[in-house]
């Protein structure tokens, strides 16, 4: 097994206020990240992955969000810290890579300044040293011509280059935990491979723990040690990467793996999960949340109050419906609702 735990998320619930009511986008999630370990989080878009990541960083606006449970980072509960206490940790011990590189950078600041900014608060360096380090970082994330890029503004870079700048910012102070929210969606595969290599290298050199949020199951297969599959705010399956890809149990995980386009699917319809995720307000808060998406499975096969259960050592699954799940034959490619 890997090292000792650095992040322990315990019964975390993140609720957003919508018209004076709170609705949980992350519902009772518990997850541990160890030193030197990559934990991937996958799941339908809108299932609460980013909401979870932002909760760890303390980036939810307090007026509109309610956080319950605890997030223990190296022994301190992040949820009990004030903003200024949190500022000593974020950027230094925890670095975050944001999902959307095109909006994640300040349009009025040069690339160089934006990377140096986090060093301003966490490292005692002269401005020459900061500059030097920034140029190194730019080189490290694979930006050709660091000197030129240092003085450029975000709008002058392509999507992929901006994403690499965002990564450079996150690793500037060599954090012990990196939260990477879709770090490579904007990158081409060669640079993706390079960034993956870079994250792996950091992980090995500095025993960095990484939370990797991604839609790309290929990236998960190559990078992750363990995988948490989320659906509608809950973790529905948690297992090590090999088990998850070769022996998935939960119907959602199985459907997901079924949808990947491959050489064989050319000119065919891809598998689609029926129906749509209900909005936060309409989400049923009891019973199996995946039930409506696999309507051909009898209702009685679901648990009334499904919990995450350890079915084999290290392999956790929610609800008993997985024991009875099968793919219907006529189901491939069905979008699932009436279109004239």
């Amino acid at each position: 097994m890997t090292g000792k735990p650095i992040l322990e998320i315990d019964h975390l619930r993140v609720s957003f206020r919508i018209q004076d009511q709170y609705y949980a986008a992350v519902d009772d999630v518990s997850l541990t990240v160890n030193e030197d370990e990559v934990v991937a989080i996958v799941g339908e878009s809108g299932c609460g992955k980013s909401a979870l990541a932002l909760a760890v960083m303390g980036l939810h606006p307090p007026q509109k969000t309610k956080l319950e449970g605890s997030i223990i980072f190296k022994g301190t509960n992040l949820l009990s810290l004030s903003t200024s206490q949190l500022n000593k940790i974020r950027g230094k011990d925890i670095g975050m890579i944001f999902q959307d590189p095109l909006t994640a950078l300040n349009p009025l600041m040069t690339i160089g300044r934006q990377i140096e900014e986090s060093m301003d608060y966490h490292m005692k360096l002269s401005s020459m040293e900061k500059r030097q380090r920034t140029l190194e970082l730019l080189k490290r994330v694979g930006i050709p011509n660091p000197e030129k890029t240092y003085h450029r503004y975000p709008h002058e870079l392509s999507g992929g280059m901006r994403q690499r700048v965002v990564i450079a910012i996150a690793i500037a102070c060599e954090p012990s935990l990196i939260i990477a929210d879709e770090p490579t969606t904007a990158l081409d595969v060669t640079i993706q491979a390079q960034i993956m290599g870079l994250l792996k290298e950091l992980q090995q050199q500095m025993k960095t723990g990484i939370i990797l949020i991604t839609h790309d199951l290929g990236v998960v297969a190559e990078m992750a040690d363990r995988v948490a599959v989320m659906y509608a705010g809950e973790i529905v399956e948690l297992a090590d990467v090999e088990t998850l890809f070769h022996h998935p149990l939960h119907p959602y995980t199985r459907s997901l793996l079924h949808s990947i386009p491959s050489a064989q699917t050319r000119k065919e319809k891809l598998h689609v999960i029926q129906g749509i995720v209900p909005s936060l307000q309409k989400m049923p808060r009891t019973g199996c949340r995946f039930q409506s998406r696999i309507s051909w499975i009898d209702e009685s096969k679901h648990e009334p109050n499904p919990i995450l259960r350890e079915v084999e050592p290290g392999h956790w699954v929610r609800c008993t419906c997985y024991q009875h799940f099968y793919f219907p034959h006529d189901h491939i490619g069905d979008v699932g609702y009436g279109i004239s």
Partner: protein, 322 residues
């Protein structure tokens, strides 16, 4: 950049030309001419003399000839002669122009001095009691017309309390150039400037407030927070700089607005500036003054927008000046 400014100045020429034609034709189309005013004050002039005077002034020439002559003089910096004041418009404007520029600058500075802190407080702590108070203030001042507000200010602080002088731009007793002279100028300036600014701030406060509210939820602000940047720097370095952009862009229009506002303010506070002169000249049909003033305010507006563009391009790297 230099090329851009030059090109923009070149572009102003046709704009000013069209304005000048319009103004000239309008002035001509108005009932009465430069002599009508004189006639009223001196009814004894007979038809013969009148005709001679008209001929002498070129008022009988075809319109385009008159325009060409007026334009030629204008280009040489000669704005014509006021027939009411019986002196060159240039002389008439000299002192007043400075007064108006001074008043406008004072209003602008006061506006930003009031609007920026209030806008920031309001945008940063949305829905706090301070924000509600500020929003309340801006509703009230939005609903109050400038001239009514100015009259109330004049009445309370000028007449009732006697804190400020109620007219003029400087005491006549003080000697020009002394410290007391400048102090007196400032004293005369303060009340009209404050009245203008208190009404003028509304737009800027609301703009800044909504801009800050929009900017503070942007992704790059999250990035900055994730770096561990303290909250005060988040505001100064990231949110405010981005929120000021539209304010800077607005500067040009602000200047146009000030010209309009000065007409009311100067008239109410009997402040000898070009706004007051403008109103008087219209009432007295002193068209050479009116046309000159319209041309000047047109030019000021164009310079204002140019200024906005220059400021904007200096602070926003995304705006390319070509």
């Amino acid at each position: 950049m230099l090329k851009f400014i030059l090109r923009r100045i070149m572009m102003m020429i046709p704009q000013l030309f069209i304005l000048s034609v319009l103004v000239f034709l309008l002035a001509k189309a108005m009932p009465g001419d430069a002599l009508t005013g004189q006639l009223a004050s001196n009814p004894k002039i007979d038809a013969q003399t009148l005709e001679e005077m008209k001929e002498k002034l070129g008022l009988n020439d075809p319109v385009h000839v008159q325009y060409a002559r007026w334009m030629k003089n204008l280009l040489q910096g000669d704005l014509g002669i006021s027939y009411i004041h019986k002196q060159p418009v240039n002389d008439l404007l000299a002192g007043r122009m400075w007064n108006t520029i001074l008043l406008s600058a004072a209003i602008l500075i006061l506006t930003y001095m009031i609007a920026i802190p209030l806008g920031i407080v309001s945008g940063r702590w949305t829905d706090s009691w301070a924000d509600k108070l500020i929003v309340g203030y801006s509703y009230v001042s939005f609903a109050t017309p400038l001239f009514i507000f100015a009259l109330i200010m004049l009445f309370i602080f000028g007449f009732k309390l006697g804190w400020f002088p109620t007219g003029g731009s400087v005491d006549i007793q003080v000697e020009k150039g002394t410290f007391a002279y400048y102090l007196s100028k400032l004293n005369h300036l303060l009340l009209p400037a404050l009245s203008g600014a208190l009404i003028n701030t509304v737009g800027t406060i609301q703009y800044l407030r909504s801009e800050i509210i929009d900017t503070k939820v942007k992704d790059f602000v999250k990035t900055a927070r994730a770096k561990g940047v303290p909250e005060s720097s988040i505001y100064w370095r990231h949110i405010l700089r981005n929120s000021f952009l539209p304010i800077a862009a607005f500067l040009g229009y602000e200047i146009t607005g000030l010209i309009g506002g000065s007409i009311f303010l100067e008239s109410i506070f009997s402040y000898p500036g070009i706004g007051q002169l403008f109103l008087q000249s219209i009432l007295q049909r002193d068209y050479s003054v009116v046309t000159a003033l319209v041309m000047i305010s047109g030019l000021a507006t164009l310079i204002g927008t140019l200024l906005s563009d220059i400021i904007l391009s200096a602070v926003d790297p995304r705006i390319r000046i070509e």
